[in-house]
Every structure is written in structure tokens, then in C-alpha cells.
Assembly symmetry: C2
Homo-oligomer: 343 residues x 2
């Protein structure tokens, strides 16, 4: 039996030269003009079976663009491998994918189409990024150093709340979100809760990659921004990865974590722990990055400082009521792709 | 309902700028230093479910390398996206993949691992190729012109015969091939038939990409080699693609098609039509290419001239007994990935 994903990577690194692997995208050639990333979206793992092919296409693209954002790269070329069952509407899928590429100046440069043996749908996108105008360097996971502040590019946990709603029957169709029975009928639950639920479902299905934030970071003086990663597998797990790559620790403040409007009551209505979703829910697709204490990202990006990079290897979270109090080690909760699910 | 793959591509071309698509790999940037190709291998579509993960890895790599061979490119970087069921032996898969990369100086530069919802196994590899030493240009599908001779880099049909044997129960395990009941017991069938059957199964599961032949073609004076494509979807279909890209026709000679030793009796024993498998069986992974009539590839590559490029758009096959006689139009038989199966 194999262990988790991080175990497998450690085993591979001991046996093989995998020095190109370790960031959200690979730089090719080393330090060279391209970064490359690959991500799959699988029905039943990353999105509900039966999701509109147009939405599958848009989510596939958004998730991959988020990896380019984390490198500070501008989208350039895409390669698609698509395995779809009989009857899949390829034209709807491609029309949506190619239309979504246009505003990003992304060009589909190749692909591979297959019909799978069953009802499964697997879409794998390989994206090439190039340097954005004024970009001086790629963002890496390894650049964090003690004393830097740790920032989040947006709210966390909301996407996971959306996934819980989808598990209970929420759907997006023709641009409108239908909530599970009881959420939308005006009886009992406040209107604001239904609105928060709708936003969460949309956030889950159609994340917005933070490309411009990545470009801003890539335009700072080399060495000024520390490290960057996109939060796909959960804030806690991805923070551990950033710290491990940098040989540093971190201390975050639970009270500083940015939550979407209505997120806490939404979690309560779902019977979910808001902090747990924020730390380990995953699929947030916001950037987690560090900057020298004197530098802050422009307000327009809506970033939030959530903690500090520390010496050593300890990753901890300071909590106040209602989340308990004092600092405790932060477990690397979140998705492991071999033992659980997404990204 | 969508039509076939070539229909879909035509529809996409009418609506979107897909000018980068049309060869076995894409040149990035246009005319630039990289070619990139992506191919998937799916359990139940491209190989039997339950195939040893090491063999899946080796086949995945070989099939993708064949696309680089068709461009005259040298392997450089690989990106893997792997969706596997619970219990899949990732270490066995990766150890085989990485070991197979070494002789090709290919480096794994990134990847994405997922657990699928069911028992499906989908492995998608994106390969980057660079110019081989002395390579002056990329091989294209569009370079054929009337009067050039048409060549095959090796035998066709054998891989499809191997697939028929696998469908009937042949297996490769621990380096040894087990044939279906009745094929291997020394009663009735000659020993040479079992040997041909074993070679066919091995050829199907472990094709050998013709990289050195591709490099030789890429080292000829630009314009000297005409066009090249790898035969993955069937000689007939891939020849039609080469001719369509070149705006030319072709006439091939059925009697000149190279067959593996024992292929014709093997087909007879399988109840299959040898010519049909040779023309439409697919997954041969040999190069189909054109050269000026005065130029022939070195003998060591074992290439065979099979016909001529003609003016116009007609693709025909000249047959003699036992395949009928006279010239007839060659139907683009072979795999369509949306309506049937491989590459």
C-alpha cells in the first residue's frame, strides 16, 4: 500500500533527481522563459458528475491559471487532454474553454481526445506561462524568511462550504444557482444566508485566479517578495509546503483569517466548523505569500496579513475565543491527493 | 450528439484560431526552441485494466516519445497527470517511468496526482522536445509534395494483432508473455505462430518510438525530407492526415507494406484480415514520411518505400492478389478517438 502524496514525493526525491519539481509550476529551462503547470479535473473527485461541460471547462482553466498566478506568470499556451464518455458535448466544452482563453490571451496549442471505457470524465490541462510585462523573476515557494509577513490574497473556507452545499444538492445551471431544499424557500432561514450559500457554490465551481496579484508580486524587486503558493489543498497544508520549501516556520493568527461575508453563519447552518474549513477545506485558489514587513500589496487586491514567518520549522496558529486560546501547532490538514481528494 | 474527432477539429477551426494545432507536437513559440505533445493512456481504452503499473508507465512514455520522433525532436522534459484508483501502486509506476526516462535524458519536471472516484486509471503525459544535435528544422505533416516517395519506418498491423490477442486473454507478466489457451501448448499450432503472437503482444504493449529515425530526418537539408507523422491511429487515417496537411494525394502499393515475420499466418489464425489490420489497426508507432526520390534513409532503420505522393487530393491503394487488383480509393479507416478508441 502506498502512503500519501507527500510520502510518495519524498520517496521519489531520494531515488531520482527531481530538482525541477517543487513549485506550483516548473521553470523551463531552469530559470528560463517558460513556466509549466499541469492539473486535472475529474468528475466525482473535483466536481459533481453531470456538471455542464461548459462549467467543467471554465473550472479546469481557472484552477490551472491559479498555478500560473502563484508563479507570477502570464498565460501563454494550453494543451488539453480530455477523456470523456459517449455522448459528452465536446463542442460545448471547447466553445467555453476557448472563449475563456481569449481574455487571458491564452492559445490552445495542442491536445489529445479519448473516449473512456465508462462514464468517467477526466480533463487535464497543461499551461505555459511567460514573464508578465515588467516581471523580473518567478515567484517561488522557497523564498520565505524569518520576519516577513504572511499574506492571503482572499478569503478561505468559502469554496469548501460551497462543496458541502453541492454535496447536498446545490447546482449551477444557466448561470443561476439552485440551493438544496429548505435553503431557498424564504421559510426559517434568513435571505442573507441563501445569498452567502449561492456565493459559496459559485466560488467553488468558478474560482477566480489571482493573476494580477501574482504579476504585482513578480514586479517587486527580486528578493523583495518572499515566497508564494496558491491555496489549493488547504491553507494549513499549503502553508506547511511553503515553510518546508523555505526552511522556515510560521505563526498565523486565527482571528486574522479573512472570511467571506456570511461565512460563519453559513458554516453554522451547514453544521461545519468554520475554522476547520478555512484551514483545511481547500480549493480556495487565493495566493498565500510573504513580503518584507515594510511592504504591503495595494489595497485593490483585498489581501489580508495573517501572520509572520519565523525561524525554525514550527508552524503554529494563535487562537482566541471562539476558537480556543493560545498558540498550538497547526496540523497540515487539507487534501492529500492519494488518500483523499482535490485539488 | 457530436460527430467524430476530425469533424470536431474542423468545427473548432472555423470558430477559433487554432493555428498552432496540426502536427504531432506544437512548436513553441512558433518556430521556437520547444515542441510539446500530450497523450493519455486510459485503462480499458488503450490497455487492459489491471495491467502492471510499470508497463502502463513504459507504454505511456513510448507513445508520447513517438510524437517527438515524428517531429524530429529530442526528449527534454515531462509532466505527468495521473488519476488512479485506491490501491494503485504509485511507487512501481514512478520507478518504471523514471527509469525509462533515463536513457532518453528526459527529466520529469512536474505533475498532478489524483484519486479517481472509481476504478479508472488515466495517465496523461506532456512531453517537451528540443532540437537534436545537428537538427536544422522540425518535421511537419505539411511538407509532402508530388513526386516524393512515401516511406514507413517499420511494420504495420502487428500491434493490432497483439491487441486482438490481449482481448482474448494474452498477458505480459514479469517480462514473459502468456498466450490465450490453445496458442501455447504445442498442440496443433506451429511454434513459429506462438512466437509471432508473443512478438505482437509485446509490440502492442511496449512499442519502440523511432527517435533516431526522426533525428536523421531532421538533419537532412531543410526541405529535403518532406513530411512526417507517426502512425498511431492507423496507416490509412494518418496518411490521409499527412496528405490533407500537405494539400497532396498519395498512391500506396499494398504489396509493399512491411509486415512482421509471421504476421500473415498470425492474422489467419486470429480470423483477421491482414491488410485491414495493416491499414486501420493503428498503434504501430512507426514513422510515415516522405523524401525526394533521390534520397533514401540508411538501411539500419529498416524503412520501406510504400508509395508516392501525387498531385490532387486522391489517396489510393494499388492491390495485387491476394488483396484484389487495381487501384482503389483508400478509406481513412482507423481510430477516431471520439467514436472508437486509441491512440
Amino acid at each position: 500500500l502506498t502512503g500519501g502524496e507527500d510520502d510518495l514525493l519524498r520517496w521519489l526525491r531520494r531515488r531520482f533527481n527531481l530538482s525541477l519539481i517543487g513549485d506550483d509550476a516548473a521553470m523551463l529551462p531552469a530559470g528560463g522563459p517558460f513556466v509549466v503547470t499541469v492539473d486535472s479535473q475529474i468528475a466525482g473527485t473535483h466536481f459533481p458528475p453531470g456538471l455542464d461541460p461548459a462549467q467543467v471547462a471554465r473550472r479546469l482553466l481557472a484552477v490551472n491559471l491559479s498555478d500560473l498566478a502563484a508563479m507570477g506568470a502570464a498565460p501563454a499556451y494550453a494543451f488539453l487532454a480530455l477523456t470523456a464518455p459517449r455522448g459528452f458535448d465536446h463542442r460545448r466544452f471547447f466553445a467555453a474553454l476557448l472563449a475563456a482563453c481569449v481574455p487571458h490571451r491564452l492559445r490552445l496549442a495542442g491536445g489529445d481526445l479519448s473516449r473512456g471505457p465508462g462514464e468517467g470524465l477526466t480533463a487535464t490541462l497543461t499551461l505555459f506561462g511567460t514573464r508578465p510585462r515588467g516581471g523580473t523573476h518567478w515567484l517561488r515557494r522557497a523564498g520565505a524568511s524569518a520576519g516577513q509577513r504572511l499574506w492571503l490574497g482572499g478569503t478561505v473556507g468559502e469554496s469548501a462550504a460551497g462543496r458541502l452545499l453541492i454535496d447536498r444538492g446545490a447546482r449551477l445551471g444557466a448561470g443561476r444557482i439552485t440551493l438544496p431544499a429548505g435553503w431557498d424557500d424564504g421559510r426559517g432561514r434568513p435571505r442573507s444566508l441563501a445569498a452567502a450559500a449561492r456565493r459559496a457554490v459559485r466560488r467553488h465551481l468558478l474560482p477566480v485566479p489571482q493573476l494580477e496579484l501574482g504579476w504585482w508580486l513578480a514586479r517587486q524587486a527580486p528578493g523583495a517578495p518572499g515566497a508564494a503558493i496558491d491555496v489549493s489543498d488547504g491553507l494549513a497544508r499549503d502553508l506547511h509546503r511553503l515553510c518546508a520549501a523555505s526552511g522556515a516556520g510560521a505563526r498565523i493568527d486565527a482571528a486574522a483569517l479573512p472570511f467571506a461575508a456570511g461565512f460563519v453563519p453559513l458554516c453554522a447552518a451547514l453544521g461545519a466548523d468554520a475554522l476547520e474549513l478555512a484551514l483545511g477545506g481547500g480549493e480556495d485558489y487565493v495566493l498565500l505569500f510573504t513580503l518584507p514587513a515594510a511592504l504591503a500589496p495595494p489595497r485593490r487586491f483585498g489581501c489580508q496579513a495573517i501572520g509572520t514567518i519565523t525561524r525554525g520549522h514550527r508552524v503554529s496558529i494563535a487562537s482566541v475565543a471562539p476558537f480556543g486560546s493560545g498558540a498550538r501547532p497547526l496540523a497540515p490538514s487539507g487534501w492529500d491527493h492519494l488518500t483523499t481528494g482535490p485539488s
